[in-house]
Amino acid sequence: MEPLLSVNNLEVIYDKVFLAVKGISLEVPQGSIVTLLGANGAGKSTTLKAISGLLGPERGEVTRGVVRFAGRPLDRLPSPRRVALGIAQVLEGRRVFEHLTPEENLLAASTMHRDGAHVRSLIDRIYGYFPRLAERRSTRAGYLSGGEQQMLAIGRALMAEPRLLLLDEPSLGLAPRLVQEIFDIVRRINQEEGVTILLVEQNARAALAIASHGYLMENGRIVMAGPARTLRENPDVREFYLGGGSRMDYQRVKHYRRRKRWLA
């Protein structure tokens, strides 16, 4: 069966000169959770934006490669159309509409629906996932705590009833308990609603725990790919991405260890 999303040989250039993504390919099967890992600046967010069509405002441009969603190439389709097709992205750093209330944030994200009653029921469903949002529905989103904003950002993306949810670092800056909560909800959304998820995460431990497949990005290229379990057991991945958890002894980390690279 054809995967829901396939990216082929994608190349992205910023500002006409800087090559950020250098020909990557990946696949996300229908109904799965796939995670994209990688160091800072590897090009993960760029890849997601290329999929959701959000490169334009950042002076970025897809110069080569194809993104196919549900069997059709997306080419230069503008992002709202992609959202209507069922691709929704949760941006890195949350980016809620600060001056709107959570309720208005959700309403604003409902322009693809005609039916007001349906919108209402969607909002209620999202309040079901995130009861905290319902409590704070009428304070300005800019003043919500980090965790609440992240919930709102995810909820807002769900308003589109997406088939594919692109999550960019949902755990960024969240307290450990909230990280668990968010990942639980992500898993529920995947299981209960059948939403396919492409997850970019720095918290590789948590990501590989819920994902079925993983890709590893370095410097704009995919350097490793495979089932989550295989990646979890790869010694390099263990050393550079998973670490020792709370058992790690930071006092003893070597001074200025040279960074390992899969590609020079």
């Binding site: 334009g56 950042e58 509409f97 709107l100 208005e104 919108v119």
Partner: protein, 293 residues
């Protein structure tokens, strides 16, 4: 006392007429974060278009105005498509400059096509004074003020709708708007179309007051002051700002001018704005910038 009341009443009405133009600015700002320096030019063009439909095409007023509304709304859409869409995501001050360029174009275009001489708009509102409780009121301003309030009400309702909320979202964050499926382009286009509609109304009324020529676009400066005084993104702010500015401009020179030999109006008004902003950095009703450290 009567003197004071009359100055205040007429000032308030004039202020509402400014607010009419300011609403166009607020509208565009609210939905795209762009300060529209071309609104004065649009008002002027609105006046010209109505004039052309009346005088050149010979239409009756009741046909000319709706047609002008349509044409100017269309122009708003065109402006968005041609000039603003490519600028999405660019620094706002550059977009602001772009609207200044647009203003220059409009200010050149209308007189080049229709001639620079003063044109009169035959809008049947009597010039005779309307005397209410011994106050001399200007009928045109009264009519304009009432119209402003009606349009204001309509806009407030509009911004409660889903489309209105989406418009506000656009001004907060373009990228995030796209990401959740809002067509930033369509929202911006809509706001410019509405600004065009408001410009026709303002052009009609201001054109009735002073005749139609390029100087109609001057109303921008006042409208901008009103919009900022009220808080750039607040519809109520524009109305309140217009009232406050209009009343101050009416009353203060009435008492100060004879003392210092005139001309205090602009200076005093400027100073009041200056002080207001010192006390309320985002105008009367503007939203503050949420800055989380």
């Amino acid at each position: 006392m009567l003197f004071l009341l009359e100055l205040a009443a007429n000032g308030a009405l004039v202020g509402l007429m400014y607010a009419l133009v300011a609403l166009g600015i607020v509208l565009v700002y609210k939905s795209s974060g762009v300060v529209n320096f071309a609104q004065g030019g649009l008002v002027m063009l609105g006046g010209y278009v109505v004039w052309a439909l009346l005088a050149l095409a010979g239409l009756p007023l009741l046909a000319a105005v709706p047609l002008a509304l349509l044409l100017m709304a269309g122009l708003g859409l065109v402006v968005e498509r041609v000039a603003l869409r490519p600028m999405i995501g660019q620094p706002l001050i550059m977009v602001l400059m772009l609207t200044l360029g647009l203003e220059a174009m409009l200010r050149g275009l209308a007189p080049a096509v229709w001639g620079a001489d003063l044109k009169s708009l035959p809008v049947p509102i009597s010039d005779g004074p309307l005397i209410v409780a011994d106050l001399f009121l200007n009928r045109v301003y009264l009519f304009g003020g009432a119209l402003t309030l009606v349009l204001f009400g309509a806009l407030v309702l509009f911004f409660r709708s889903r489309t209105g909320v989406a418009m506000k979202a656009v001004s907060d964050d373009h990228l995030a708007s796209w990401a959740v499926g809002i067509s930033v382009e369509r929202m911006t286009g809509l706001s410019w179309a509405l600004a065009g509609v408001l410009a026709v109304v303002a052009g009609l009324l201001w054109g009735r007051v002073q005749g139609v020529d390029w100087t109609l676009s001057h109303v921008l400066i006042k409208a901008l002051a009103v919009a900022i005084l009220g808080g750039l993104d607040s519809l109520e702010g524009a109305v309140v700002g217009g009232l406050v500015l209009g009343i101050l401009e009416g009353v203060i020179p009435g008492y100060l001018d004879p003392l210092v030999g005139g001309g205090t109006r602009e200076v005093v008004a400027a100073f009041v704005i200056f002080l207001t902003i010192l006390v309320r950095p985002y105008g009367f009703r503007g939203r503050e910038v949420i800055e989380r450290v």
